[in-house]
Symmetry: C2
Subunit: 233 residues, 2 copies
């Protein structure tokens, strides 16, 4: 059990909307889209309807009425209960005050980085830099003189994401440089493993067994496949 009865952040957005005024689910999705919360809160129908259900069963929202306009399918209109109000405030407070560790794809990639040869990695990271530059440029275009420029309060999430994008870009550039000019600590060993013999990178991804510098590869206890390792595929 994940502490909250409903843990998907989408539920928080739903509560937020229902604090404003009663709505039916489809309107919630439309509204979130219009206010481009989609950029910061994952939204899809499956999750939306199941989240609304769960909020109901836990008494955080209640159905106010069921109406049908014209020949459209029926729609159930929900409103927040006092418990729902409280949950919203408590949950939002938690999100704002308490950082949680989140796993990113790139982090996973970095931690296995020695699995590819240094020069290739440098090229790949350079591609990453290009992508990041494009994304930054695009976000400039959206928030700049072109689009509606609202006060900062209303695009505060974008600002946050932007700051991280910039850090990411700067950090990645530095890493590329450090690989290219050979100043990255440990690169000697890394390069050796990818040139001297086929493609053994045993324990190179490790971080265990500091390997006291000097004493080549003698202690690596790996007999198996090696000569024909690269020829395949």
């Amino acid at each position: 059990m994940t502490r909250r009865k409903v843990s998907n952040p989408l539920a928080l957005a739903v509560l937020s909307l229902l604090r404003e005024r009663p709505m039916h689910p489809y309107e919630m999705s439309r509204t979130l889209r219009q206010r481009n919360k989609e950029g910061s809160i994952r939204l899809n129908y499956g999750s939306l309807y199941s989240v609304v259900d769960k909020l109901m069963t836990h008494g955080l929202i209640e159905s106010q009425e069921t109406v049908r306009e014209g020949q459209r399918p029926e729609r159930t209109i929900y409103r927040a209960t006092p418990a729902g109000q409280a949950e919203f405030e408590d949950w939002l407070a938690e999100l704002l005050s308490t950082p949680v560790k989140e796993y990113t794809q790139f982090e996973a990639g970095l931690s296995l980085l020695p699995g590819l040869p240094p020069d290739e990695v440098a090229n790949l990271l350079e591609r990453r830099c290009e992508h990041l530059e494009e994304t930054l440029a695009a976000s400039d275009a959206v928030l700049g003189p072109g689009g509606a420029d609202l006060p900062r309060l209303y695009w505060i999430e974008w600002d946050y994401v932007r700051a991280h994008l910039e850090t990411d870009l700067a950090w990645t550039r530095r890493l590329v440089r450090d690989i290219r000019d050979g100043s990255l600590e440990g690169i000697g060993e890394w390069r050796r493993f990818h040139t001297t013999d086929a493609d053994s990178d045993a324990r190179l991804t490790s971080g265990e067994n500091p390997a006291p510098e000097g004493d080549p590869a003698s202690q690596t206890p790996r007999p198996p496949r090696k000569a024909n390792a690269r020829k395949a595929t």
Copy 2:
């Protein structure tokens, strides 16, 4: 279908390990833990075994033998196939070269920020700053003179995470300041909605409808519960 046959990054770690040498699942988990990849790749048994299964059925790994030592349960030892090798390289290359948008809890929180009154938000964010400081200090302690200090290559993920933590802290501090000294654009409206009348923040979370300044709260179309909203909890 998510492009890759197996999409959990844990599978990438498994392939990485099996490139080094054949192993059984439990040993994989032990090894990942020892090398503290747990910090960057989510690891739990359920996922591990199901990921290994899927890798098998897709021909990316194969079972080499099944052994039993002493009275311990049987263990199946797996090794990577050539297809698995290729998948590893391709996947890792993608992770390193192509940034993907990931949704964070905090971002979600930020985007709903006007749901709480400015002063409370400032306090909450300050708490966040304290947490971030602690985390940074802790990571210093681990990587600093105390722990084993390996070459940078081996804690590159940590370095990356650290950079983002620092950005996060700086950014959050700035925001707190801007709220406190009232220099955040839009804070007037925000504050007004939380003081003039109870706790209406209608369309304040929006970013739609710029609201041409002047024309108090006349247009807010919300009658419901209001006086007793804050007294609860």
